[in-house]
């Protein structure tokens, strides 16, 4: 039966061509280069995390490690288990947020980065990981209002909201209702009771859209966001120091934490400032530059590649 044989051969040919095309396109990893080891760097699904992961990864790669990236993974609930199961070796964490995630919101984090990090390490050791030396670079929760709202009620600090909160709508991400330094903190430390709380996203496009169209007047952003001024948003000062030490800290699996690696990462942490975060965020969010390019120029400017 000619037709059937032709069918089978045609199908096989199509499949073969497809497979070859796909396989040819697949990149082949260079072999034979001596490498100090392989490290997989993970990151959260916001630009700053991409940048920090690239900063860590490119420095390690420059020093002779084979670096793989697993970026834009999502929230902590995906990243931390990935670390625990060894799918990633390292990620750029924020001391207070990591602690409060691991202790299921007990509220142990303080405004002191060293204290927070050592508490964090008691939890991380249980999952075979550790946090290194926290950086001075800080990116924590920040609560912003539109300029119009700030002018209307003369708002400069979070305490200023006390009288007017019940006239305003607050927007944040899904974890804000239960995260100690988010809504519970605003309620207990500042006594704020908003007219309504909307679940949007954590400092993402939905929060920004909600500000834009007036759906919310107060919202959660991150302190190093570069587009706040462009959006006409004003961050209210945390005058009662509710917000804890969300300093950038490398969180790494103990197996991967050799002296060489930790030395490199600690050096990066020491040289990183909050302003650096702000600048790099701006390059990505406002100028649409790529995180890896931004990280590279930061490293070159600070002579990490020399």
């Amino acid at each position: 039966m000619n037709g059937i044989r032709r069918t089978v051969w045609s199908a096989a040919a199509v499949a073969a061509i497809a497979l070859v095309a796909v396989a040819c396109g697949a990149s082949s990893s260079p072999s034979g280069t001596t490498s100090k080891g392989t490290i997989t760097v993970g990151g959260f699904n916001f630009p700053e995390s991409d940048i920090l992961a690239q900063v860590y990864g490119q420095t390690l790669a420059h020093d002779g490690y084979t670096v793989n990236y697993k970026l834009e993974l999502g929230a902590r609930s995906i990243v931390v288990p990935a670390l625990q199961s060894g799918q990633i070796d390292l990620y750029p964490g924020y001391a207070a947020s990591e602690l409060e995630y691991l202790n299921h919101g007990k509220g142990e984090a303080t405004a002191d980065p060293a204290e927070t990090t050592s508490k964090l390490n008691t939890y991380l050791s249980a999952i075979g990981a550790e946090a290194l030396t926290p950086s001075a670079a800080f990116d924590g929760n920040a609560y912003a209002v539109t300029k119009a709202t700030a002018d209307q009620y003369n708002l400069k600090t979070l305490s200023d909201l006390t009288g007017v909160a019940d006239k305003l709508v607050f927007g944040a991400g899904p974890e804000c209702k239960t995260y100690k330094f988010c809504l519970p903190g605003l309620t207990s430390v500042y006594g704020l009771h908003f007219k309504n709380t909307l679940v949007l996203d954590t400092d993402g496009p939905a929060t920004r859209a909600a500000f834009k169209n007036g759906t919310i007047q107060v919202g959660l952003v991150f302190s190093t966001d570069a587009d706040l001024q462009q959006l006409g948003l004003v961050v209210l000062q945390d005058d009662k120091h509710m917000i804890a030490a969300d300093n950038v800290v490398p969180v790494i699996r103990t197996k991967a934490a050799t002296n060489d690696v930790t030395g490199i990462l600690n050096k990066i942490s020491a040289g990183l400032s909050t302003n650096d975060l702000f600048t790099m965020n701006g390059e990505v969010s406002l100028q649409h530059m790529d995180a890896d390019a931004v990280a590279k120029s930061y490293l070159q400017a600070h002579n990490y590649f020399s």
Partner: protein
Amino acid sequence: MAGGVFLDIVDPWINWNWLSTHIPTVLAALQQHVMLTAIAVATALVLSIPIGVVAHLWPAVRVPTLGALGVFYTIPSIALFALLIPYTGLTGTTAEIPLIGYNLLVLVRNVVVGLESVPPDVLDAADGMGYRRFARLVRIELPLALPAMFAGLRIATVSTIGIVTIAAVIGIGGLGQLILKGLIENFHTPLVVATILSIALALFLDLSLAGTQRIALPWSRKQ
């Protein structure tokens, strides 16, 4: 900031400068997308033939099989991707398992329909010519079921391309990664580019499969 969004000069829908400097990124996403799709469809295709044959030969198996696959079909993909992470990790496998499951419904169903549509006269003739059961299946029935299988293959391929975009939500790339980048960074271009490429890929593969069917099975035209 209430200006018409379509007149958004600050951030045009396609920023050609960005696009021209990011061709490798876009192509890498496209390639990853093709790979994820190809593996899902090919695996489901291979699995669907024995499963479909069994479902066809034993009607008692058919209803529960199609029923189970049908129920699986209604579960949203994001949920399945997320649920599989603890078991299969952040790998392509996590994306592939639900995709293969979804494709199995379409492909198995079409194998069954295809086998059922073989005219009884043909079966009689084959029996009369002395074909044993298995030989009859492989050399007569399955080839005649090919048009239905091709139809299923086209549907499975096109729908897989769309669902793969959602896997980006758990970090498994492809064109969905560009969509997510556009969403998170409030940036139109990667989103628009990914949408156009995704549609183009789907149409291209659909037409290729249709063309392949025409060439390979010229007797199946128009049905």
